[in-house]
Symmetry: C2
DNA sequence: TATACATTGTTTGTATACATCGAAGGGCAT
DNA sequence: ATGCCCTTCGATGTATACAAACAATGTATA
C-alpha cells in the first residue's frame, strides 16, 4: 500500500486541469477536447468529462456553444468586478451578522486570529511574513463571513472567492514592494478590527461599509500591481488568467 | 421526419428532472440514483449523469458526500436570504450603472417597458394582469441590471435568480388577495421608476438603496404569503422547494 | 455474547464502442 | 467562376459492460 496514486481519476483530472489553467498553460478561450485531454492524461474520456463539468461549476470553464467546454477568459474589468463583488458579499454577510448578533465565542476566536495577524508584521522593521499573513487573512475572512449564518450567501461568496484572483489573500501575493505592502497591510488590519468591532456593536451599516472599502483597497492594489508590471503574474496563482 | 422527439437526451433528462424537482415531486434531501432515473426516463445512465451535473450547476441539486447527487433543500430562511441577496446584487448593478453612466437608448427601452407595466393594472378597478406583469417585470429587471455592463456580476445575479423562488416575478404569483397585490404592485412600479431616475441622474447610492428596498418588499410579500398559507405553494413554481 | 471478518448487494466510477451532429472541403452543375 | 450539394471527418452524445468502493448483514470464533 505504499503506492497511493489510485484515488479517483476524476479528482486527478480535475486537479491537473485546474493547475494547468491557473498557471496559464491554457489561455482563456481555449477550447478543450475530450480525446486530446484523455490521451494526454492517459485516462478515458469519462473522468475528463466529469472534471470539465466540475471546473465549469467552479467557474474556470464555461460551456461552449454547440457543446464542449472552453477556458473562461477574464478581462481586467472582470477581475476588478469580482473583487468588488466579493466586497459586496462580505459586506452583506457582515451586516447580517451585526443585525442578528454574533456568538461571543466565535468573536473571541476571530480576535485571536487578528492577534496572530498582528504578529506577522510586528518587529523586524518592515518585514512581513507573507505566507503566514495570507493563511491567517483567509481564515479571518472566512470566519467573519461565517457569522452571518446564511448558507445561501456563504455559498455565493465561496463561488466568487474561488476565482483564484478574487480570494482575500491572492492580492497580497501580488504586492511587490515590501514598504508599500507593509503600509497597506497595516491599513487592512485596522479595517479587520473595525469590522469586528462594528459587528459586536450591532452596527450593520458600518460593518458593511468597511468590508466594501476593504475590498476596494484590495482592488486598487491589484490594479496597481497588474498595470505596473504585466509580467507580475509569474508565480501568482490566478493572475495568469487575466487577459487584455 | 414528422417525429421530432429526438433533440438531446441530456436536455430532455435535464428538463424532466428540473420539472419534477420544482413541482415538488422530489423533496429536498432526496438522493438521486442514476439507474432508477435512467430506467424511469428510458434512457441510459450517461445523459442522466450529465443532467444531474447541470442541475447541480444551476443550484437545484448538490453533490452528495461520497458521490452522487441529492435534491438541495431550502429553508424559509434560505429563501429570504436568496431574495435579500438578489436585492444586493441588483443594487450593486444599479449603482455601477449609475456610476459609469447608462446608454440613453437602453434607458428609453426600459422606460417603454415601464409604460407597458403601467398598463397591466390601469383601469378596471383593482384588476391586474398578472401574467403580463410578471413577464414585463422580469424583462425590466433584466434590462436594468444589464446596464452595469459587468459579465461577472450579471452571471452571479442570474445564478441567484435561477433559484425558482428568487426570480423577480415568482413572488408576484404568490400574491393571493388582489387588492393588496394591486397596492404593492403600484408601490413596486413607483420604485421601478425611481431606480431608473436615480441611474439617469448618476445617483449610485440612491439607485442601490431603492433596489434593495424593492427586494425587501418582495421578501416581505413572500413571507406573508407563505406563512398565511403553507399550501400556497400549489401551482407556484419553486415554492414547493421550501421546507420547514 | 461480543467482536472480527467475510460475503453479498447496491451504487458510482471507468472504459470503450457506436451514434449523431455539424462544419469544412471538394466536386458538379449552372 | 460561383453557388449548391454531398461527402467526409472530427467532435460530442449515448449506450453499456465491467471495476471498484462502500455498507449491510450474517457467521464463526473467542
Amino acid at each position: 500500500m505504499t503506492e497511493s496514486k489510485s484515488v479517483n481519476l476524476t479528482k486527478r483530472a480535475t486537479y491537473e486541469l485546474r493547475q494547468k489553467i491557473i498557471h496559464g498553460g491554457l489561455p482563456g478561450g481555449t477550447r478543450l477536447f475530450e480525446v486530446a485531454l484523455s490521451e494526454e492524461l492517459q485516462i478515458s474520456r469519462t473522468p475528463v468529462r466529469e472534471a470539465m463539468s466540475r471546473l465549469a461549476e467552479e467557474g474556470l470553464l464555461e460551456r461552449a456553444p454547440g457543446g464542449g467546454f472552453q477556458v473562461r477568459s477574464f478581462t481586467l474589468r472582470d477581475v476588478t468586478d469580482a473583487i468588488e463583488l466579493r466586497g459586496v458579499l462580505e459586506g452583506t454577510a457582515a451586516r447580517l451578522a451585526a443585525e442578528q448578533g454574533a456568538d461571543p465565542d466565535k468573536i473571541s476566536e476571530i480576535n485571536i486570529l487578528l492577534d496572530r495577524l498582528d504578529r506577522c508584521f510586528a518587529g523586524d522593521g518592515d518585514q512581513v511574513d507573507f505566507d503566514a499573513y495570507s493563511e491567517l487573512n483567509g481564515q479571518f475572512h472566512a470566519r467573519l463571513a461565517d457569522l452571518c449564518q446564511s448558507p445561501v450567501i456563504l455559498r455565493e461568496l465561496e463561488r466568487v472567492k474561488s476565482l483564484p484572483f478574487a480570494s482575500p489573500s491572492a492580492f497580497v501575493l501580488g504586492q511587490a514592494e515590501t514598504a508599500r505592502s507593509h503600509r497597506s497591510l497595516t491599513q487592512a488590519q485596522a479595517q479587520h478590527r473595525a469590522m469586528v468591532q462594528a459587528v459586536v456593536r450591532r452596527e450593520g451599516a458600518r460593518a458593511e461599509a468597511i468590508a466594501r472599502e476593504h475590498a476596494r483597497i484590495a482592488r486598487g492594489n491589484l490594479e496597481e500591481t497588474f498595470v505596473a508590471d504585466s509580467q507580475a503574474s509569474d508565480g501568482v496563482p490566478g493572475l495568469s488568467l487575466i487577459v487584455r
